[in-house]
């Protein structure tokens, strides 16, 4: 589903763990500019952190796209994390709490889904992964 785009989108290349920090700071700034309450700023920043780390850990290179979107007068922030890495062989398995192939806690994807209002994942094995999440202003 596409929503009306408000203002320009911000693109943050993700190539190293320092980029994880810049991506979540940009996201927080954008959400703050949008008027989200402080709890939601932390929520959005944490979700971006998890998505960006997945890129660094599994795909090495990718990007985070941040957008302010509008759905019939309701403002929201959209975060797209996209890479052309190896893809996820079993998305259903990757969405389970505690499942990880890298020795991490395995909470990144299922946790991000809990943090945000909307969550979409598209992964082509061998081609890459795109995760789109949205948080709407209450």
């Amino acid at each position: 589903m596409r929503f009306a785009l408000i203002a320009d989108e911000a693109r943050v290349p993700i190539n190293s763990d320092a980029d994880i920090v810049s991506a979540r700071q940009k996201g927080r700034e954008l959400a703050s500019h949008c008027g989200f309450p402080s709890t939601d700023l932390a929520v959005v920043a944490t979700a971006i952190s998890e998505l960006a780390r997945n890129i660094v850990r599994y795909a090495v290179h990718g990007k985070i796209i941040l957008r302010v979107v509008d759905n019939h007068g309701k403002r929201g922030i959209e975060v797209v994390a996209t890479d052309d890495g190896p893809g996820i062989p079993d998305v259903a398995l990757a969405m389970q709490d505690g499942y990880s192939t890298s020795g991490s806690l395995g909470l990144g994807l299922p946790g991000t889904r809990r943090l945000m209002d909307e969550f979409e994942i598209k992964s082509d094995f061998g081609k890459g992964t795109t995760v789109t999440v949205r948080k709407w202003k209450r």
Partner: protein, 127 residues
């Protein structure tokens, strides 16, 4: 961004001052575990008041710090987790199980004072 570690009596106090990358977190972990033995510290406080995000990697690293330091015979307390950070951590599914936490530096020091006192003549047992 390196995290300064101060020695205050028998304790080490690490005060995080800005956002940390994964590498900064690993360095903090290694520095604390190393310093505890070097200065024979009895307790460690990690002050995370300045952190606006504690994600899964940060949580795991803080947990590792506390567990490693306990194995070295000292106690760790994490202080200053902000309310909105706590909210995000719980939503994400993260917990600091088995790790002591306190509201702020003052409470953290009080916790260590209680914990470290009285262990002088006791054999420590792992929880």
């Amino acid at each position: 961004m390196q995290v300064p570690i101060l020695k205050q009596g028998a304790y080490l106090i690490a005060t995080v001052q800005s956002a940390l990358t994964d590498e900064d977190l690993r360095q903090l972990r290694d520095a604390l575990v190393g310093q505890v033995s070097k200065v024979r510290a009895r307790g460690v406080i990690v002050d995370v008041t300045a952190l606006d995000v504690i994600d899964s990697f940060a949580t795991r690293t803080l947990r590792d710090v506390a567990h490693m330091i306990r194995l070295r015979g000292a106690e760790t307390v994490i202080v200053g987790i902000q309310p909105e950070v706590a909210f995000s951590m719980v939503k994400l599914g993260l917990s600091l199980e088995g790790v002591a936490t306190a509201l702020d530096l003052e409470e953290g020091l009080a916790y260590l004072n209680r914990k470290v006192k009285g262990t002088d003549h006791e054999v420590r047992t792992h929880r």
